[in-house]
Amino acid sequence: MKSLQKVAAAILCAIFVLMLLATFLLPAPYARQFRDVPNAAPSSAHLLGTDALGRDSLSRLLYGTRVSLLLAPAAALLSTLIAAVLGSVAGILGGWFERIALAATDLSLALPWLFLLLVVRAMLPLDVPPFVSVGIAFLMMGLLGWQASVRVICAAARGVRDSDFLLLARSSGCKPARLLWRHVAPNLRPLFYTQFLISIPIFILTEANLSILGLGVMEPMPSWGNLMRGFEDFSMLLANPWRLVPLALLVIVVMCFQLVLPSQEVTQ
């Protein structure tokens, strides 16, 4: 392991430890409002200052990290799995199956998901506990976020379809399931990693948008997404640059994920 990878792994470990121990490390409950000091600058009492309602920003960041880092990768994993299975099978089998799979993907891409999500929200009962609401939001993201990846993976699988090693495996009587699992998947694995990594920040930001529709993480629970909702006010950011910490953390985490993975796996 290269030193850069070691550093990245150490950072990720540190973030995950902080995330898991957040309950014990929080300087204050994440929902508690210190109403005398709204929008406060960093101080010894509030290391990252407070938000518009006077809530401790560090507490909210630590707790929000837990929500986002547990659920966004889970949703990314789900969508990547769906894309990997569908894209690989379509690419390897080719023919009518590929055409139908890609047509279904295109159709799915063309659907107005926003309205579907609104319908889902309208059908959900209002008294769903916040944790369940968050789980549903990320589950929906996982189930609905696979289409773009399918096209990429299918194109790569099509390239593998005519390769010599696959021809050899076929001629030696290898069954389709084994062919996919032992020969195709390992060759497409870097692509799966890439799609997975790309999806994480996308889902974190999608969650922020879903919050606006009443589908994501609801007040007072924090997440990276709703912590970053305040970024729309650019002049406020210039005056209070410490508010950018959630974004910096997101960038660091995504970069670390990319560095930790073996370079040939990602950039093959």
């Binding site: 518009a52 529709l213 009443g214």
Partner: protein, 549 residues
């Protein structure tokens, strides 16, 4: 006859008969005021106005018989020099100004007023403005005894009749330009859909300033159509527009930091934010929640446990005031000043709840059956201040052991729940109030009304106090004197304060942005806040903001 005609011609030559000028040919170097409409105007017919953009155009172009002064809140003569309400509010007689002309030069007479009133009350036209005048079955009769006198007789008394004419822009009965011929300070000269509405100075406008100079001072007003409020603010900061009539607290604070002279806070406005509990009997809620929500003690306790001062200070940055009830203190005449100031008292709330059979064990509130008191508040998604208010209410009510959840919904879903399915527990919304008169709130307080949100469309009043509200609202709407109406409306406000069907939270300040280049501005708490006196506005040189071209 020939001789009489000759004399007439000779007199005309000698005295130079004051012929109307074409508005298009008149010019005065007053500059061009620019600001934004937040949507496309759906109509230029002043009788069909329903939304803000059309209302702005109507306000700037329409000539009205009686004008409500947005600052003093008093009625002032417009096209009518004087007026008299009689026959217990059924009849109003106007004496009109003589010698006036529409923007296209067509003379203004009592026939135009009669034509306008008939059009206004025509059931085929479905005029939203006309709805306010419909007091009973029967026809509205209009008499025009002379060119400068009009008598309008309604089938039943209309409360606050004269005030309603502030919304009625007079149309021309004879002009070929129809509703585009106007009597207001400006007329619509150009309209590019999706882009702008250009208003030019009406050279035939009747009003003059103290020195006898004709108004308005401005040559034109350009109304750019811009839905995005951030872009609107950015354009103001760049000096591309001269004013923003309505600002939220965040934008106001940002602007005040950059250019204090341009940010104007006129004080608490008429708009209010409030929360209510679903009291619909058929609502799909558990029985214990229905019992809580229908308990006046429960509602009053929740109201007492909400810290309104903190809401005003934190959510609105101090640009709001704790709300007393359905009428803002900004409404000088109709506000009931005897109402007590809403107090934050969580200990008092707990005492009230204990009397109502609730038990507080130090962290959790339970009802007499042992159910934990918990409810969900819905509000419209994307509204940051409302989400923040609920977050603060969550903490306030947690002090008395009540757990509050927040769910934000897109507006159509929210409306569906509060008007059709009644599948919600509590809701936080706001009311934009543009009218001072209590009659404008009939559709809220009558138990049969659709906007009686906590329990709408009742076939008969569900409670005694709602029956009393019905009686008082009907009484005030048919009372002939303002004194009697005020007494009834004060009682309505008192009942609302006692029963808290709506828990009023704050009255937001009326904030606007006006470039220092605009001379003569006097922001008001009433709409339109920043340009209600557009006829006396003019542009001066200002290098920083809004410089003239």
């Amino acid at each position: 006859m020939i001789r009489r005609a000759f004399v007439f011609f000779a007199l005309a030559l000698v005295f130079r008969w004051p012929t109307p000028v074409s508005a298009e040919s008149a010019g005065q170097s007053g500059g061009e005021l620019r600001f934004c409409l937040r949507g496309e105007p759906k109509t230029f017919n002043p009788l069909l106005v329903e939304e803000d953009a059309s209302e702005t155009v109507r306000y700037l172009t329409g000539g009205v018989l009686i004008r409500l002064n947005r600052q003093t809140q008093a009625l002032e003569p417009g096209l009518a020099v004087s007026w008299k309400v009689s026959d217990e509010g059924r009849k109003i007689s106007f004496r009109l100004r003589s010698g006036l002309h529409f923007s296209d030069g067509t003379p203004f007479t009592s026939e135009d007023v009669a034509y306008t009133v008939k059009a206004l009350m025509d059931p085929q036209l479905h005029s939203p403005t006309g709805d306010s005048f419909r007091s009973g079955d029967g026809q509205v009769v209009v008499h025009t005894p002379s060119a400068d006198a009009v008598i309008v007789i309604f089938p039943a008394p209309v409360a606050g009749l004269e005030r309603l004419f502030d919304q009625v822009a007079i149309l021309s009965a004879h002009s070929p330009k129809k509703e585009m011929a106007v009597l207001g300070p400006f007329y619509v000269a150009d309209y590019a859909p999706g882009s702008y509405v250009l208003l030019h100075r009406n050279a035939n406008y009747w009003k003059k300033d103290k020195e006898g100079k004709p108004l308005p001072y401005l040559d034109s007003i350009r109304l750019d159509i811009q839905r995005n409020r951030d872009i609107e603010l950015l354009r103001f900061r760049r000096g591309e527009i001269h004013l923003i009539s309505s600002l939220d607290a965040d934008s106001f604070d940002r602007l005040q930091k950059e250019s204090p002279a341009a940010a104007h806070d006129a004080g608490p406005g008429l708009d209010s934010e409030f929360i209510w509990f679903n009291q619909v009997l058929s609502a799909p809620l558990s029985d214990n929640k229905k019992t809580w929500f229908r308990s006046a003690e429960f509602r009053k306790a929740v109201s007492m446990a909400i810290n309104r001062a903190d809401l005003s200070r934190i959510v609105f940055g101090g640009h709001a005031r704790p709300a007393f009830g359905p009428v803002s203190p900004a409404n000088h005449f109709w506000f009931n000043s005897a109402l007590s100031v809403p107090q934050y008292d969580s200990a008092g709330a707990l005492r009230l709840l204990a009397r109502a059979g609730f038990r507080f064990d130090g962290s959790t509130l339970r009802d007499s059956s042992g159910n934990r008191v918990e409810f969900t508040v819905i509000t419209n998604s994307g509204n940051k201040s409302r989400e923040q208010m609920v977050a603060m209410i969550q903490q306030d009510l947690s002090q008395i052991g009540i757990k509050v959840n927040l769910v934000t919904l897109d507006f159509p879903s929210l409306i569906e729940r509060i008007t059709r399915t009644y599948d919600y527990e509590a809701c936080l919304l706001g009311l934009v109030n543009t009218d001072l008169d209590p009659n404008s709130q009939m559709n809220v307080w009558l138990s049969s009304a659709e906007n009686h949100q906590w329990n709408p469309k009742q076939s008969k009043p569900a409670t005694e106090w709602e029956a009393e509200l019905d009686r008082l609202m009907r009484a005030q709407s048919s009372a002939t004197t303002d004194k009697k109406r005020k007494a009834d409306w004060d009682r309505v406000q008192q009942i609302v304060a006692d029963q808290r069907p709506f828990i009023y939270l704050v009255n937001k300040d009326a904030m606007s942005a006006i470039s220092p280049a605009v001379v003569g501005s006097a922001p008001s708490v009433l709409d339109p806040h920043a340009f209600w006196n557009a006829e006396v506005l003019r542009l001066g040189p200002d290098p920083a903001l809004g410089a003239q071209e």
